[in-house]
Amino acid sequence: MARFVGRKLLHLLPVLLAVTLLTFLIASLLPGDLAYTILGDQATPEKVAALRAQMGLDLPIWQRYLHWLWDVLQGDFGRSFRTGETVLAAVADRLPVSIELMLMAEGLGLLIGIPLAILCAVRSGSAIDRFLTGLAFGKLSLPSFMVAILLIYLFAVTLGWLPATGWVPFTEDPIGNLRSFVLPALTLAFAEWPVLMRVLRSDMIATLQEDYIAMAKAKGLHPARILLVHALKPSSLTLVTVTGINIGRLIGGALIVETIFALPGIGRLLVGAIYARDFIILQGVVLFVAIGFVLVNFIVDMLYAVLDPRIRHGRA
């Protein structure tokens, strides 16, 4: 196990380095000069030159990268030139909201996906199985912003059961806080369940062919016990991976949903930075999200190895 972790860690470093380089290069795509953008209409040649020198913009690009990387390694992701807020503070402020949304969405997705997958696997090939796989296929063509619109129309506009926007901190109003999360979490869960159902369904169908399942049946065990105890765990490997990867993606990937429902999470911070043309915050958040994404994938790899001994013994 230690050797496996070591090998993966060795692989992780170059990827992280490449991610920082890519983030830095994206930011240097900005046409014109950051100094002009910051100074706006007050830009005089002298002021621009002074600011460029102060920010180190007059250095060659590889030196700027190394300076920036050094700062990042020390935990300094930069500071907004509009509000003066540091990237780290902004992210720390928004992260709890994104995590709460992510957990609720993934939980709801699993709550819908797992029972449906078991149902499909047991009745594989039946009308209900075909209907649900067809539904999952159709759902692939329905992006989250459309689901959000439909849910808002149904639950907020027509029925008036839930708020479409309006987030309150959990500490002030726990019920109101949870209510404001229902529709966004449901929107994301709608995107999750078809994927989760599909992977678990196909793994479970394979597991149910195994001899030990026949053995369990022969012993006369209760069907529910066979399904939930004997079949579910060995079938859930891919499910764990996919769930993990989805969680990583939702850190930044929920940005559309966070924007629609006005939830102050990481995604909205990112979109807000784009609207405000706050490029330092944008760069910092992109880097943060990308690193989070890579690390979550790494943890999922580890978890996968824990669950399946074949992987850590060299076959991967």
Binding site: V15, T133, I251, T259, A290
Partner: protein, 290 residues
């Protein structure tokens, strides 16, 4: 939500595959819709429709009438005309971006799969790094820095689709590289170039084509998402995504303003998914896929 999901989508256990006769109906309907919307987009200038940017301030959010077949939006612009011109943007970006991925990714994947060795390791590594980025975040950030235009968006989504195409092309090439007809060509002294183009390409082309159609569907969604956030093709050019975004504000009084473009986009994306998936089921190299 984006290019990365292509990977998962290909693992889909196709619902159309088993259905025998109903496959035909769905497939034909999808093809019909794509041709219809494609023709409308191409002929938008010639069709007898109002300009998509003409505003009629007296007839805002009007229901369908003889003058405006599908009504008007919140600025009194003709909905049908905007939907057709919106199809132009969606289809242009949707078809051109994956071409970038198809050409570059397909070539990289085939070379990597055929030659192997250090080149393959480098390609796979590069693909891993690109995939390490959350795609939508990447697309948003790059367009924010480069500036919003149809060209930039096409390029960004195109670059994002390269890794997925590389993986597909490499996987298919790997499965073919040791086959008898390739070995035979090598024994006959054919050049690498000839083997790649004459022996491998015809076999890789069909699976890549099926994947291309699925990529078109994903690209239309990504473009729609960017436009929905107001970060896509700049106004006043109509785009389905931005129409949905604008329609969201009047969901309570005129819900069709959001639902019409959403319906068009859903039908188009579904059509490409159906066509691509049918083609994929037909060309899947795995035994028993049919």
């Amino acid at each position: 939500m984006a290019v990365l999901e292509l990977e998962g989508d290909t693992a889909l256990v196709s619902p159309v595959r088993r259905r025998g006769r109903r496959l035909g109906g769905l497939f034909v309907a999808a093809l019909f819709w794509v041709v219809l919307i494609g023709l409308a987009a191409i002929l938008a200038n010639v069709l007898p429709i109002v300009s998509p940017t003409d505003m009629d301030f007296l007839g805002k959010r009007a229901p369908p009438s003889a003058a405006h077949l599908l009504g008007t939006d919140q600025l009194g612009r003709d909905m049908l005309s905007r939907l057709i011109y919106g199809a132009r943007i969606s289809l242009t970006v949707g078809l051109l971006s994956p071409v970038i991925g198809l050409v570059i990714g397909g070539a990289l994947g085939m070379l990597a799969g055929y030659f192997g060795g250090r080149f393959e390791a480098l390609t796979v590594g590069g693909v891993d790094v690109l995939l390490a980025f959350p795609p939508l975040v990447f697309a948003l950030a790059v367009t924010a820095y480069l500036g919003q235009s149809a060209l930039n968006i096409t390029l960004v989504i195109g670059v994002l689709s390269i890794p997925a195409f590389t993986r597909v092309a490499r996987a298919v090439t790997l499965s073919l590289a040791q086959r008898e007809f390739v070995v035979a060509a090598q024994t006959l002294g054919a050049t690498h170039m000839r083997i790649l183009l004459r022996e491998l390409l015809p076999n890789v082309a069909l699976p890549l084509m099926a994947f291309f159609l699925l990529a078109v569907a994903v690209t239309i969604v990504v473009e729609g998402a960017l436009s929905f956030l107001g970060l896509g093709v700049p106004p006043p050019a109509p785009s389905w995504g931005s129409m949905i975004g604008e329609g969201r504000e009047s969901l309570d009084i005129a819900p069709w303003l959001a639902f019409l473009p959403a319906g068009f986009m859903f039908a188009t994306v579904l059509a490409f998914n159906v066509i691509g998936d049918t083609l994929r089921a037909l060309t899947d190299p795995r035994p028993g896929a049919l």
